[in-house]
Symmetry: D2
């Protein structure tokens, strides 16, 4: 029988870095974690009049970190997302000063005044599986599919570092990719004893690249099946779905995020299939898929994906995705 850890954070327990603080709970490999996440505004943006730059002290709180029993540097953590469900019937988005892809920022520094800060409130209908947009300067209302995801999933980085939760990198973090949705398994290399993973930043849906810098932000109820793959390293965040394997790169400029993700996918494919390296490079060149996660965070992210149809039956990480799917099944 599967053991379950239930943890609901209080506001004071939310964290703003990966690394740098003690665990909130311990989880044994093979267990389920039932928890929840606050939105990226810490719940402080309730109406279109709550400008984030005025009402928020910090951004992107995460739930955790969780200590995984037995996890050591050199292992791989597997997090299977059994459920990611909006905990509210509304979500918020915004433009934010000097943030987003189509505005000058503190790094792409420009002499323009910031673009107007504006807030949008979305209606979320979990029964109908919809997210509804309401324009601010006209009467347009547009219904879109509900596609819940978590923007931020990561472990503590190594080398004594502590990174703001807004940052994506090799330790995971603010990957902001719609690929982290219910039913997938995320793989993260362990850098410190216990792995110390944390999650947050739920999105009711998100465009690819998150062009204005903010998705449809909402609190989420999350169920995760947790496992540990001993003695197997994972250099960069990876995702497995029923049908695809996915590598994620985080870097600037964006082509380096592309390079990292494709490089990892090529070498992973070579390892899984036995294809020689350039033969795998060629295969990915014709069969590979790619898309941006965010083009606004401190590092940009892209994913590289390959259908399992071309993997000749290879089973990543010894079939852990299928096993966790099975453990998670009763919870769906």
């Amino acid at each position: 029988m599967t053991s379950t850890v239930t943890y609901q954070p209080t506001e004071n327990e939310l964290r703003y870095t990966f690394g740098g603080g003690p665990a909130v709970a311990e989880i044994k490999p093979g267990s389920l974690l039932v928890t929840s996440t606050q939105d990226c505004f810490g719940g402080a943006v309730l109406t279109v009049d709550d400008l984030p730059s005025k009402v928020c002290q910090a951004f992107n709180p995460v739930t955790g970190p969780f200590h995984v029993a037995g996890a050591e540097p050199g292992d791989t953590l597997a997090l299977h997302f059994a459920a990611i469900t909006p905990a509210r019937d509304w979500g918020m988005s915004a433009t934010f000063p000097h943030f987003g892809a189509l505005t000058g920022t503190h790094t792409t520094a420009m002499l323009h005044p910031p673009i107007e800060e504006r807030v949008w409130r979305y209606t979320i209908d979990t029964a109908a599986d919809t997210v509804t947009y309401h324009a601010r300067r006209s009467d347009h209302t547009i219904v879109m599919p509900l596609e819940p995801m978590l923007g931020t999933v990561g472990v503590a980085p190594g080398g004594g570092e502590a990174r703001a939760t807004i940052v994506p990198d090799a330790h995971g973090g603010n990957l902001d990719t719609p690929e982290i949705r219910p039913g997938v398994t995320v793989y993260l290399g362990v850098n410190v004893p216990g792995a110390l993973f944390a999650i947050g930043d739920g999105h009711a849906r998100q465009g690819q690249g998150e062009v204005c810098g903010v998705a449809v932000e909402t609190a989420m109820n999350v169920t995760i099946a947790v496992d540990l793959i001993k003695g197997v390293t994972t250099p960069r965040p990876r995702i497995e779905t029923d049908h695809r394997i996915i590598s994620i790169g985080a870097a600037r400029p964006l082509e380096d995020a592309y390079r990292i993700s494709q490089h990892d996918l090529v070498t992973w494919t070579a390892q899984l299939t036995g294809l020689e390296l350039l033969d795998a490079y060629q295969l990915v060149s014709q069969a590979g898929r790619a898309a941006p996660g965010n083009v606004c965070d401190p590092l940009y992210t892209m994913h590289a994906a390959l259908t399992k149809a071309v993997l000749a039956g290879a089973s990543p990480y010894g079939g852990v995705h299928q096993r966790l799917r099975h453990i998670a099944e009763p919870t769906r």
Copy 2:
């Protein structure tokens, strides 16, 4: 009744620049063009022993340019691709010295010797709709869907420029996006009298980003319904499908290709729907899709796409896509 221009180029008639040469034929708006394209190697790579750096004098020949009657700077050319069909039962791919995303190049200059130049020969089966990969260093054979497309579609640039056909930019050119497939309409701003459009670089299929720099290259038979939208400018290449509108950016670094494409999609959406600009920015942030075309050419390309479901029935360019689709129907 629709008039049809048929043009089959001889080897000597192929061109290697957009701009800089006279038209090969004139086409009236509302006509069909039935033509063909050579592969990016000019047909010189026939076996895995034909290394492109040895057997090719030039790369990426195009068929054209075609003079469109009445086209003037400030107009928009609409090219509806009724058919893009492999003209052979084989296609070639390769790694090429100092070319591709995972190797040092002449611009991302490095001290490494070039990666091995290697050629792959694919089998194309148009009846089964498949492309088959054959590994070079093992016995792997992998069957993938046939997804024919044209890598290169463009018009003459303005200002007296002539650009190598390997280059994508505002005039189109080597966009290398799988979105230019049968059934879509490509929109290009006209820069010179007659537009002088040309096409080439057929791919039996291509991964997103074309990571090794070369797709499954093959000759194509192509049928295009050609039209002209007078007095309407189009700043960057756009595509319309039955279900989506798409903007294409070409730039380095890759985030600028993303920015160009998203900026065009946001402003186009605002114009089509009547949404105020930031309201359109917000909508695209949640509903938009994005992917790289190439991350290897002199400029990288990305596309930004939006489902027509969120456009509230707006009809781009006065419905020309539907009209051309109708003209093209009998030819499918």
Copy 3:
């Protein structure tokens, strides 16, 4: 005795591309060319009320192209700038919509409205060797050294291309580096018969990177000693001064301009000194200098420089710089 070609262009003879047009004059290797250049505004900006976007039809006219007798692809053209002297006692600068490093542009596309277009008029005093800045919104007047240079020096590109004169690349063009000053020799690889070099875009002075996108633009009187090095290729623009060798890279992102320039400097140093490649890499790492030319043009430029003190007496291109300096001496 040195033969001299004198050529003063009329307004109609100015060109706006490298490549794509016939030569205006022929020059024999070993000759002097006495000519002049118009400013980047074509002389149309005379007062601070002449906004370039209103009064200019085109930008960056060049004088030429000049056909160099006997020049063939595979040769190197050597242009020794004996004199670059302001032809006026005033120069103009400006901010320009969507142009410059600290503003959104058509490629770094943003939703901001353009920054204000504003013109500054500088006083040039060739007797005192000064350029004087006059603030537009206050009474500040600031005197700076006169440091005349040419922003644009190039040859026709190969492959049938014609490039706008605003573009820098392997053919030279709008390099916008203060290193092209009186007393230096510029080396350019020849791509077409006759080389077809042209010059323009004089600056009374310029900051490194030309951050607002426009220098102190003025017309120049120019004297060049022209020579040809047969059978020696030069892949990218190079400069030789009495004390330094310099390689120039043009690319985006800026690190690629850095890479190109440093790569060329490392390989050139290895060739000149006999140092093994990584030994040359190490030497340049400790002794090399680097700076941006422009961070605003279609491609950014950086130069890499090395003092001849570390070259152990090696003489680039067989001593052509010293010979041309000698030829040019009487003209100074």
Copy 4:
């Protein structure tokens, strides 16, 4: 009379992050600090046979952090470098796998095998003020000027972050700019109580951009006059010399490091002189200097500099540079 703190770290006291650990000593504003730094290899590379990837466990140790009495977020720390003197008569450099500007790296990920790891040992002669290079594959010996500098100077970042000492950013860190030399004052914004500054990574000399990724690394004896400017923020690292003001940007791609540094220099110049913002932009465009510090670290750095001659007598930070220079004078 000036009080002096003397601190010589043991090997165990060296740190590898900014932030995340307690101070090693407290310093009162107006005091002198006499200390020393280990080289970036932790002193483990002694001969050309000591490959860093084999003999080093960690890289870039710093001395500190030092707690500055009374420093609070919102203040500016001023560090005047009275002396930076090599503590040895030798220095080491190296190529390192997947590190440097002309090689594939873990972020500019490529399929090439790493470039050869090789070590160079330099002779340092402080009496003659020289650094001598010895080639590894030939007999070349080249003498260069000794130009001691510190590559790494920073404070603890805010927000609970701890950053590896290899990283440069707004908190300073591994800036790797030759501008941090004896006689200059470095300004850093304070993010945490006590500022917690640390220093390290001495270079006997360094090329601009540090192209191979490693300078002439050596231990240093360092004397610093420390001061605190209450209630004045400094967004990014700045440097003041007797003749220039300098802003430093750290970012990828390199143009963003350029943008940050130029943006800070423009706004700083406007503030110091009273020039309106675009007038300051124009002035910097013609008078500004720029150069890369590193083009190899996790973030690249560039500096933007302006001669004080154009500042009309303005005195940055109320003249603290002159005061600290005076305090430091007896120690030179």
